[in-house]
Symmetry: C3
Subunit: 267 residues, 3 copies
Amino acid sequence: MKEKIWEHIIAVREKSPLVHNITNYVVMNTSANALLAAGASPVMAHAAEEVEDMVKIASALVINIGTLSEPWVNAMGKALQQANRLRKPAILDPVGAGATPYRNTTVERLLSAGRFDVIRGNASEIIAVSHSSSQTKGVDSIHSSEDAFEAAKQLNEKYSTVVCISGKTDYVIDGNKIARIHNGHEMMTRVTGMGCTATALIGAFAGVTDDFFMATLSAMSLMGVAGELAAQQAKGPGTLQLHFLDMLHSLTREQFTATVKIETAHV
Amino acid sequence: MKEKIWEHIIAVREKSPLVHNITNYVVMNTSANALLAAGASPVMAHAAEEVEDMVKIASALVINIGTLSEPWVNAMGKALQQANRLRKPAILDPVGAGATPYRNTTVERLLSAGRFDVIRGNASEIIAVSHSSSQTKGVDSIHSSEDAFEAAKQLNEKYSTVVCISGKTDYVIDGNKIARIHNGHEMMTRVTGMGCTATALIGAFAGVTDDFFMATLSAMSLMGVAGELAAQQAKGPGTLQLHFLDMLHSLTREQFTATVKIETAHV
Amino acid sequence: MKEKIWEHIIAVREKSPLVHNITNYVVMNTSANALLAAGASPVMAHAAEEVEDMVKIASALVINIGTLSEPWVNAMGKALQQANRLRKPAILDPVGAGATPYRNTTVERLLSAGRFDVIRGNASEIIAVSHSSSQTKGVDSIHSSEDAFEAAKQLNEKYSTVVCISGKTDYVIDGNKIARIHNGHEMMTRVTGMGCTATALIGAFAGVTDDFFMATLSAMSLMGVAGELAAQQAKGPGTLQLHFLDMLHSLTREQFTATVKIETAHV
């Protein structure tokens, strides 16, 4: 498993998949830098006039609802449908789902407009997407990953999409396959956009393999390991951020296999 | 006074108030990271469709006019009125006021739409907001804090709002209470969004105390001390930024009380 | 030549020209920080309601099409025409030209709306702007600077604009004057917005000299030297970024003249 993931990490570095992000203003810079550091090629484009053309040349589409408005939601729908038509992987990050009715409605609109291959959120967001009625405190999670587990399984069944719950332990769920990743560091929660970056990286890995369970597992493992090793050198959230980017870029097979902690199960 | 401020710093870390920012594109990432590093919980949302719902769950609203357009100005007005209705603190950062008629008009629209509990700007901005006729060079100040003092007093009287003028010396003014903060470092002016970050932090402190004079004084003291200590380790504006975030996160009571320089007066 | 460039670097630090950027969401923070570190004063404003007023007080206008939408394109046209009327320098960064028809059309609209003094792009972008038909992979170049040389000469003749092709070797072309800059470092391609930052810096230098060939050469030399020296201290793209900002701020004449590698020719 570790070997397979490492192969995907190398594939991202070598193939440099183009990841089309329609994402929020807060994390655009962070996500672009993380994609570049991991070896991928980011592009941000949100105009209805060009999203379909951009999806055409991209290897994956990442939709993140962190800072919404109507023109963006419309463009997200168009881009998603184009990705579905062209059989390109589409990833959803339902940032802040549950916090406002508008975010819930947007998620519902997107889920009826097309199909996502992967949905990644924190526990509160996954619960909100599944129930469209749960309470969320802003964009930070008030639920544990364990709470969200049932919600994730329902989402996975209903939409045939890989579901990832990120948190202290990350879960990746697809049918009877479940993986748990025990990496990362608490200080990562004090840096904005770490979740969004994880989703962007899932896009990169989905651009190099059709196995979206493995793509998600690979991205989350890379995040967790890079964050954990970065935290060891960091004095706070400022230095954590830059060591994290350095680590995405320079992580070695030895570092990765010595650090990654994954459990997999069939249920 | 120092003890009281330190209690507020601890309260932000412990209560993690949710700060709703409608702010400019340039500083969204910076402000979110500073809020997280200080222990608060940031959320950015600007759609007219959701700002009222977001204010509902937030502890404070921060409005920053750094990169304007009509849909945003409309949402700012709606959010402000909701904050007033729900008696949540509202903070204004009139970035670049005085630079263009559109910015002046926007400030006037906001000031007639509702009430702000705190207004923070550099000297030129405070003068512009007060006179709606002063000249500003872009977003950087061409006036000293001393020049802006009279303007701030007028603003404070007219709108019953705490006024903060940031600069080499920071002033916090409310009725007959005045505080001067002699912290910070010149190199902070070479990092974008430091003023906006200060305003976002005022939002965090206004989320943990109803005394908005003390909230503003606490936020500006934390900014000044963290910036000053960060500058001691920095080789330039790049390293300053990250040490600043680290310091917001890890500042100790000893460091704070040994560094902060505040004068208070009643006039 | 080196001495002349150094004088311009000092002029930016001393005169602190106000650079009005209508640029993309991804790099706004990065560009603002780079302008501040180099000593200039950035302002971002994109509303049709205020761009003409902002151009009035600015020393240069920088237009970057990295994240487009109709309201922004309209404002870009208005700002460009105002810059032309007031004889303020206007710089174009055609980010991702060639990637989608919308980007090509936008470039064409801007080039018919007004005149640019400098156009800077990577090889693919310069070819796309010149031919409006070339293929681009997202926002990263798939052509070498050498390929783009003919396209740049045509652009220069057709629009009487200085053209800069950035890449492993940077080219600056104006009539029979050509300069090649052999600085920079490969790792700079793993940090987002380095090209956009170069364009923003051209704006700063165009704000202190009317010789736009020299302004462009100065900006690109500063980028290349600061990036190269930063890379020597960097462990990855994260640390590169901050050392780059530090270097823009603290670069000395000795460091600059010892590092810069420029060839000039008349053809």
